[in-house]
Amino acid sequence: MIELQHVDKWYDSYHALVDVTETIHRGEVVVVCGPSGSGKSTLIRTFNRLEPIQSGRILVDGQDIHASGLDVNALRSRIGFVFQQFNLFPHLTVLDNCTLAPIRLHGLTRTQADERALALLDRVGLAHKARAWPSELSGGQQQRVAIARALAMQPPLMLFDEPTSALDPEMVGEVLLVMRDLARDGMTMVCVTHEMGFAREVADRVLFMDEGRVLERATPGDFFDRPQHPRAQQFLSDIRSPFARSSLTTP
């Protein structure tokens, strides 16, 4: 479904993605993890051209997304994107957040769009908040609305950019449950996340990135229990027992 061929990206002189070649298949749930600044978010932001790349090719459904004449808006409307900061539109109600794009881009009537949105809000457990303003919702609720909003475009592919990193701990679960259900329904998903429990239970495959490179690709079982690359081993031991880090124990 997504094919990356020798993708390189620079922010000025900083090499953010280094020769990334990777294939994500339809129906697959891929978790991308790695230390901060490793290029995980940058990677998935290139899939819908939120980030330009300097060399290489990215194919979505066999189509080069940088081909001239490609309708980037049509491409993006087929890729759901969930942001760390939710980015609900604060001047619109929850329902209007979910109907804006379908009405404008799929040509739905308000009634059709409302119906579609309400079904999705129900799926994320927030149908009763349809008339609320985003500012009236908790972070976890806002993120679930953001997921419903992305789903309202009926994309065959969903990208999640650290969807739970901005949430209070007690709200992480409700968002992960929605994502798990989505995965079980067969959605193709690429999730950048630090939620290792989620990765272990839901992911088909884990990509480990550091310094712009994909250093390890493995099933969750292999990745967590038998990490191959020394950086991956270090990363896993860091997130498991942060107090054992040498930088913290030695003065």
Binding site: N48, L50, N73, A74, L75, R76, S77, R78, I79, F81, F83, Q85, N87, F89, P90, H91, L100, A101, R104, L105, A132, W133, P134, S135, E136, R149, A150, M153
Partner: protein, 237 residues
């Protein structure tokens, strides 16, 4: 004072109308209102150009904004009055001259307010709208501008209040707006400048104060939606 008002109130309000051209307070109000109505869309257009990703659009407008901001309004009026006819070939009347000067001048200031309003929003709003598949124009129109305009409201009103007062510079090119009329009255009465100009000042104050209050009410009404809900949540938390 009563006698003064009694004698000149009609002249003050409408100038020589209906025996001559409309003037006085009526002309001031019309000039200010037209100025606002025309300057706002132009200001938004300029503001959008200022944040536009296209250089060919951004650069000329940026240059215009900097030039206009760098000269006094009086100078813009002189340009419109003396320079414009020499370009177009025919003489523009004082009202149109003043209106053009006001609109160009205010649009440049409004452009900066609009630019700041747009830049002040989180980047994620535009990004998110684009990620849904909305075009740049639609994202701007449906997501960014409605939020930006709301946060700009106090600055916009500030500029509008300035516009009302700026109409008084029409005096310089002999436009019979309310300041000009007041001066005429003062010349005729001669002995009571404090009262004449006191009334003139009060008139401007009422106009500006009225607009401010109107805008404040609008601001409150807009804020009652999202913001009050957030406040309620904070109190309960």
């Amino acid at each position: 004072m009563i006698e003064l008002i009694d004698t000149y109130w009609l002249y003050f309000l409408v100038g020589q109308y209906p025996n001559g051209p409309l003037g006085g307070l009526a002309l001031t109000v019309i000039l200010a209102a037209l100025g606002l109505v025309l300057a706002l869309p132009l200001g938004i257009a300029f503001g959008l150009a200022r944040v536009s990703p296209w250089r060919w659009l951004r650069w000329p407008v940026t240059a215009l904004v900097f030039v206009v901001r760098g000269v006094p309004l009086l100078m813009v009026i002189f340009w419109a009055y003396f320079f414009l006819p020499s370009v177009t070939g025919h003489k523009t009347d004082q009202f149109t001259t003043m209106l053009i000067a006001l609109v160009v001048f205010d649009a440049a200031y409004l452009a900066e307010i609009v630019r700041a309003g747009i830049r002040g929003l989180p980047r994620g709003q535009m990004e998110c709208a684009r990620s849904l598949g909305l075009s740049y124009g639609r994202a701007m129109r449906l997501v960014v501008l409605p939020q930006a305009l709301r946060s700009m409201l106090p600055s916009l009103v500030n500029q509008f209040v300035s516009t009302i007062k700026e109409t008084s510079l029409g005096y310089i090119i002999g436009l019979a707006e309310v300041s000009f009329i007041a001066t005429q009255i003062n010349t005729q009465v001669f002995t009571r400048p404090a009262e004449v100009y006191g009334i003139l000042g009060l008139t401007y104050f009422i106009l500006c104060f009225g607009l401010s209050r109107l805008a404040y009410a609008l601001e409150r009404r807009l804020a009652r939606r999202g913001a009050s809900a957030a406040a309620a949540r904070e109190v309960s938390a």
